[in-house]
Subunit: 266 residues, 2 copies
DNA sequence: CTCTGTGAAGATCTTCACAGCT
DNA sequence: AGCTGTGAAGATCTTCACAGAG
């Protein structure tokens, strides 16, 4: 998980397992697709296949939400879409601010998925004055000097950081001070936040490194000479479904030459 | 997992837990930073703090790699950087191809983290002919018709998909057929791949939804019991912060495949 | 009979706490 | 002393397999 300053303490209240929460969006997407095709019901088997998980896991996940299925039949698509949306809090409007409008920030701003899922880009913020006023994805970029005001005026509680690594912590501190309590961090840095603030991190460098690890394992190795225990013939490979991540991984590292802002500064 | 068996993740001395592998890049980044400051050694406590994990976990993780520390002292930074790099397979060159050069693809291509170690963008590929030949991040975009040739000529085994959701599976199939065995998918779709191929997914929409879930939790139970949901009639809209919006969401219609392209179509 | 919901078993991952090297 | 390395306990997550609703 990518929760920054973890929160283990809290009372084990009526909670849905974190692993399950991480999969709900996946189910929701599959269900939405079915809904658009006017499919009325699905079995756990079918839905699981569409979401890329196994059916037992899916049924177990749903069991934490309640008994929304019908034995011998399956699940009502519309009803389930609604229940999951509600559970995820998507039945309400979430204004978000995005800080750092470089290549990545622009790509994120253009990401259609926001609007359709209860998220609304309330503001785009950057430190580069030459960008201010310029519209990106139809939204004019505002200067970072106004960050606090923007957050407060819009009642923003979720912020997205797509600045270079060096600016991330500072931006994070300001967002938190202004009232943001959930942050999605694209900068390759570990953010430290006070308790109560959630941080999820997305870093492509880490993802690539993990792939490289497995790739290395697949390709026969040369000098290494470890192998020994590997089964001949078919090497054990991770099941594709397992690659599904709770998302959030993190990191990236500095390079000899350039640092690696998650994206270009401006 | 689509069809078959779940593989027994072969338990061998060389088998590093997946959770550990996912953290190695984090440690590597922290170590690289220390290395650049010419710090000779670090204790598990210090390094753990820099990486954002607890020290017991870090020591346990390192124990899978071997005994690279010195009791009473700590770990030699340079040595550890090397060992982790080697373990992750970063001591070799990994040519990668990126398919789908829209906003996101361009952002990724410009991502400095690639070049700085192990990864090399061998080619940028897009289906849009008007983009072909145009340099992005200094690399000329090539047409997707040449995908197979490009992959083969460059010995590419890792591909990055940043196309719209609708094109992802097809691109994936072609990459795999051409020899790619590891894929980093940014398109909001579940890719199905043959056994032996690894897929990792990065999905912004999912990350935001997970944050929304936790955010909703924090918002407190100001209202009263949520529970018991009725069918999607009037969605309850509750604003998290001060101001508020009124967009109900749930199952709004939107793009073609019900989902959002990770970025502008290529 | 079909397919959900779930107790229980199994597999992983995390944390503790301390033996043992330096 | 200080700090690593690790068995063992604990917490989570996954999978099995079947009772039982429809």
């Amino acid at each position: 998980m990518a929760t920054g300053r973890t929160h283990r303490p809290a009372t084990r209240s009526r909670g849905i397992p974190e692993a399950t929460v991480a999969r709900l969006p996946l189910y929701l997407r599959a269900l939405t697709a079915l809904s658009e095709r006017s499919v009325p019901t699905v079995s756990s088997e079918e839905l699981a296949a569409a979401a890329g998980v196994n059916s037992a896991k899916l049924r177990k996940d749903f069991s934490y939400l309640g008994s929304y299925g019908t034995r011998g039949v399956g699940y009502d698509v519309e009803y389930l879409v609604y229940q999951i949306s509600r559970e995820l809090g998507l039945t309400q409007d979430w204004p978000i601010v995005m800080v750092g409008i470089g290549n990545l920030g622009a790509a994120l701003a253009n990401y259609g998925g926001f609007a359709s899922r209860g998220f609304r880009v309330a503001a785009l913020i950057d430190a580069d004055k030459s960008l201010v006023g310029k519209p990106v994805a139809g939204i004019p970029v505002q200067h970072i000097d106004d960050l606090e005001k923007i957050v407060e005026d819009n009642g923003v509680s979720i912020g997205v950081i797509a600045t270079p690594a060096g600016a991330a912590q500072q931006v994070c501190d300001r967002l938190v001070a202004a009232g943001v309590t959930s942050i999605l961090n694209f900068a390759p840095t570990v953010l430290s936040v006070p308790e109560g603030v959630d941080v999820r991190k997305v870093d492509l460098s880490i993802e690539l490194q993990i792939l490289a690890f497995h790739e290395q394992r697949k390709a026969g190795e040369e000098g290494g000479g470890d192998v020994e225990g590997v089964l001949p013939a078919a090497a054990a490979v991770r099941s594709p479904g397992a690659a599904e991540g709770a998302g959030a991984t993190s990191s990236g590292r500095k390079g000899p030459d350039g640092d690696l802002p998650a994206v270009m500064p401006a």
